[in-house]
């Protein structure tokens, strides 16, 4: 400062922190060489490398270096600014450096990960990128941010478990919530389900109390049979119109938005005899049949897992289907809620079962023993552990054809073992040799290749249950466009960062939870919902957000009042003052730069993205490094 007062411009002191990101960058780029190179660049006062710059010691290193080397600009050369810029900016601020004196250089997503086979060129590119960052950093200027008031209300889209959980948490914190559900009732997909896994309660018994709580919560305004029609504005200040099927569109103002629109099961068109043979149903349809107690007499049931998933119609594993199949298999085996209705016709067997129950308890120890044996043999041979002829207690043969059983975590593994104790057979198939569902002499049959015996086999069945993956809502893209939030490659909503920001969108103010983000069971959906609600509550509780100082600035000595900028600004953030000269309404300006690129007099500068900064950055790439 004093230097400048003396008329001398202080030359910048830039600190460059280059990240290995473990081996994510270090494995493909010679980070040491890049660091050495960075130290040679003009105005670089300090350059170092870190194993993980975003970890505690990396951040401390930045803070200490700012003090020790008297840095007035910081460059982190690592991953992407879209996820990590705020973290490093906060670090700079903590060390007393204005956050606009920070520059990000992306050498992971834009370098090491996309040039994994050419270490030499990737290293050269990383050097160039760092040089570009340094060129930009030299022209940085500190900026001040304005505070924007936040409307202390939220919008939740989707009235399933996730949406209801999120809405309730926010409402319980005292914030008004608008809950938009396209159907005529709350509950979501769980309404289609019969029993739920890991609980003795039915789906209805589980979901009803939640619906009751939502109904009783005065802070929640329900909009049933409705959808979001338009969304205008930005974090803290959204104007949303909610279009009802037969009601007048309603306008609401909210500060944050949570997306919880769920997912739908894939319809296995053309797979495994679906719609071709009778009694070939999806897991979802089977749940509905159970609810209606409309199940035919079952002696042999086959499940086929991964129908359409893991590379067939969709690439991913749907996460829940193995556990759903295990749940359903156990329910069938136990004839839960008398779902089969079969035993009623045969009182003898029903009585037999009643006697068998305590017997099964007594055999608990034996069961553990057997479990130990099976585990030792591994899952591949799991089916062999089931002795031929030993049928489950209810007299139903249950076979689960699977590629491998994904019964992850504590409860699911126990359920898996329980299913095997109930004599449910798990038979593996490989994608090259799928089971075949056929009709033979009017009887349903599953043909399969026995991987252990290496021979074709077949079994008669009464019903085939196809486990199809959850897929994204067919109209997800509409909401994605309205809210300007991305969908990933599989059509699910994509969070800002898989690990660090799992329920945020990259767009500030919008959050995501539940199966619209990818397959999840109820417990997972509910925890995501609670997380999303607490994230969405932060700006609401603060009552304000700090607007980034990325705005346009009009040089009134250059402006001739032609008005072109006023015409092009999408937010009405420019107006002419009394002298006919253009001026910026900083709170409304979002810094898109349209006016700056348009002004015929070159009177408009974009803060933090000046021509000078951008040109310095781009041209530095053209120098020989």
């Amino acid at each position: 400062m004093t230097d400048e007062a003396n008329g001398e411009k202080k030359s910048p002191r830039i600190g460059v922190f280059i990240c290995h990101c473990g081996s994510n960058i270090g494995g493909f780029v010679d980070v040491k060489a890049v660091t050495e190179y960075a130290a040679t660049l003009p105005d670089v006062a300090y350059a170092t490398d870190n194993l993980y710059t975003c970890a505690e010691d990396g951040l401390n290193n930045i803070k200490e270096s700012i003090k020790e080397h008297n840095l007035d600009r910081v460059i982190v050369s690592s991953c992407t600014p879209r996820t990590h810029a705020p973290l490093f900016q906060r670090t700079c601020e903590a060390a007393g450096l204005n956050k606009y004196m920070f520059t990000f250089v992306n050498i992971r997503e834009h370098c090491s990960w996309v040039h994994m086979k050419d270490r030499e060129r990737a290293t050269q590119k990383a050097k160039d990128l760092v040089r570009m960052g340094v060129a930009r950093a030299r022209f940085l200027e500190p900026q001040e941010e304005t505070k924007i008031d936040v409307t202390q209300a939220a919008l939740v889209v989707g009235g399933g478990v996730s949406g209801m959980t999120a809405a309730l948490s926010l409402a319980n914190m005292g914030f008004p919530v608008h809950l938009v559900e396209k159907d005529n009732e709350l509950g979501g997909f769980v309404r289609n389900l019969h029993g739920l896994m890991n609980t003795k309660k039915s789906a209805g018994e589980t979901i009803e109390p939640l619906i009751d709580k939502v109904n009783a919560q005065k802070n929640i305004t329900q909009h049933l049979n409705s959808r979001v029609a338009t969304v205008e504005g930005f974090i803290g200040n959204y104007d949303v119109t909610i279009g009802g099927d037969d009601a007048e569109p309603k306008e609401v103002k909210v500060g944050t938005i949570i997306v919880a629109t769920g997912a739908v099961p894939l319809v296995p068109e053309g797979l495994f005899g679906y719609k071709e043979h009778p009694n070939v149903v999806t897991a979802t349809e089977f749940e509905e049949l159970c609810k209606k107690k409309d199940i035919p007499k079952l002696k042999n049931v086959a499940f086929i897992q991964c129908v359409g998933s893991r590379g067939q119609k969709v690439s991913y594993c749907s996460r829940i289907c193995c556990n759903v199949a295990i749940k359903t298999a156990i329910n069938i085996a136990e004839n839960r809620d008398n779902m089969l209705g079969v035993t009623e016709e045969k009182p003898a067997e029903a009585g037999g079962q009643a006697v068998e129950e305590p017997a099964a308890d007594m055999k608990a120890e034996e069961g553990t023993e057997r479990r130990r044996r099976r585990r030792g043999r591994g899952r591949r041979e799991g089916e062999d552990a089931v002795e031929e002829g030993a049928a489950p207690s209810s007299g139903v043969e249950i076979t689960v054809f699977n590629r491998d059983v994904m019964a992850y975590g504590v409860e699911h593994e126990l359920e898996f073992n329980k299913a095997r104790e109930k004599r449910v057979k798990f038979i593996r198939y490989v994608p090259d040799n799928l089971p075949k569902v056929t009709m033979k002499d009017g009887n349903l049959e599953v043909g399969y290749f026995h991987e252990t015996l290496k021979m074709e086999r077949s079994m008669p069945v009464d019903m085939v249950i196809l486990s199809t993956p959850l897929v994204s809502q067919p109209d997800a893209s509409t909401l994605s466009q309205l809210l300007k939030v991305p969908l990933g490659q599989d059509g699910f909503f994509q969070e800002a960062h898989v690990k660090l920001r799992p329920v945020d969108f990259a767009t500030d103010g919008v959050f995501v939870c539940g199966t619209c983000r990818g397959p999840a069971d109820i417990a997972e959906a509910a925890s995501q919902a609670a997380a999303a609600a607490s994230r969405a509550a932060i700006p609401l509780a603060n009552g304000f957000v700090q607007a980034e100082a990325l705005t346009s600035r009009v040089d009134e000595t250059k402006c001739t009042g032609c008005g072109t900028c006023v015409e092009v600004c999408p937010y009405g953030a420019l107006r002419k003052n009394e002298e006919g000269i253009s001026e910026v309404i900083a709170a409304a300006c979002k810094g898109c730069g349209c006016c700056g690129a348009t002004c015929p007099e070159g009177a408009i500068t974009m803060t933090h993205y000046t021509d000078q900064q951008l040109l310095a950055e781009a041209k530095a790439a053209l120098e020989e490094g």
Binding site: T80, P81, R82, N106, R108, E109, H110, W113, V114, H115, M116, K117, D118, R119, E120, R121, A122, Q124, K125, D128, L129, M132, Q481, K484, P486, L487, G488, Q489, Q494, A506, T507, L550, C562, T564, E567, V568, P570, Y571, K590, G591, C592, G593, C594, G596, A597, T598, C599, P600, E601, G602, M606, Y609, D611, L614, L615, E617, A618, K619, A621, L622
Partner: protein, 269 residues
């Protein structure tokens, strides 16, 4: 080993395209990030610069970077109606139209400038776009702004032309004129407007090139006509206008032919 192969590149003078990409933060930059996350590979030539919206890319930024020696420039934005700032990329498209017109005037293959809409979920598309574009530039060869003074002068003229009030105002209003009509609510014929911008681009480019050439050394109308391959009467008309605006001055007539010299503004440049 690696050292050795680098030397080989240098000794053979093997040329590597230098490509700059300007990407908007919200879609195309995110798409490039996803491309990385998904490990889709692409050639190493491109260097990416992040801007908030593709609408920020003024023709000046692009043309100045071409002048500085870029062989190709990629502009990435969101798909129409996906722009984070609603209408930003509609203006981008118009501005790119002007950049291409001016590149053409400057004799630079317009394929060197590429506009692509890449969404945050199109990681694979991003790698394809960059791979294709790099191959295309490889085929076109170096842009020569660094090695050929005439190429540089022409690109510089294109840059100056892009900064003129007339072109900036025309192109700045182009999208609104076409989508909302003119100030009297009349619809504007896109072809007619296109024709007007074409003609204006050519005139502004020629005038800028005259200034560029006459800055390097004083030239006569005939000389300018020959170098620029423009009829002398048109050169003369440009010169009259430039003299009226005090941009060019007549210098010591050599014999009977007057020569013209660009007036340096503020003595710098």
């Amino acid at each position: 080993m690696t050292h050795h192969s680098k030397k080989k590149h240098e000794s053979e003078g093997e040329w590597e395209p230098k490509i700059i990409g300007f990407l908007c933060n919200w879609c195309s930059y995110a798409g490039a990030d996803l491309c990385g996350v998904s490990r889709f590979q692409y050639p190493t030539n491109i260097r990416l610069v992040r801007v908030m919206c593709s609408t920020r890319i003024s023709p000046h930024l692009v043309l100045d970077v071409f002048e500085a020696g870029a062989d190709g420039i990629l502009i990435g934005g969101c798909h129409f109606n996906d722009c984070h700032y609603m209408t930003g990329n509609f203006h981008t498209e118009k501005r790119v139209g002007l950049m291409k017109r001016l590149l053409k005037e400057a004799g630079v293959d317009e394929k060197r400038l590429r506009l692509e809409w890449v969404s945050a979920s199109e990681g694979e598309k991003f790698s394809k776009v960059v791979t294709e574009f790099t191959e295309e530039i490889q085929k076109l060869g170096p842009c020569k702004a660094r090695t050929d003074d005439m190429v540089k002068a022409k690109i510089s003229a294109a840059d100056d032309a892009s900064e003129t009030f007339r072109l900036k105002a025309l192109v700045g209003k182009e999208y609104n004129l076409l989508s909302k009509g003119n100030a009297y609510g009349e619809e504007v014929d896109p072809e007619k407007l296109g024709g007007i911008i074409d003609a204006a681009s050519r005139d502004e480019f020629e005038r800028a090139l005259i200034l560029e050439l006459a800055r390097i050394r004083p030239m006569s109308v005939k000389q300018l006509g020959m170098v620029m391959d423009v009829p002398t009467d048109k050169i003369l008309r440009h010169i009259v206008l430039l003299r009226q605006n005090s941009k060019i001055a007549m210098e010591h007539p050599e014999g009977f032919t007057p020569v013209y010299k660009t007036i340096a503004i503020g003595g710098e440049q």
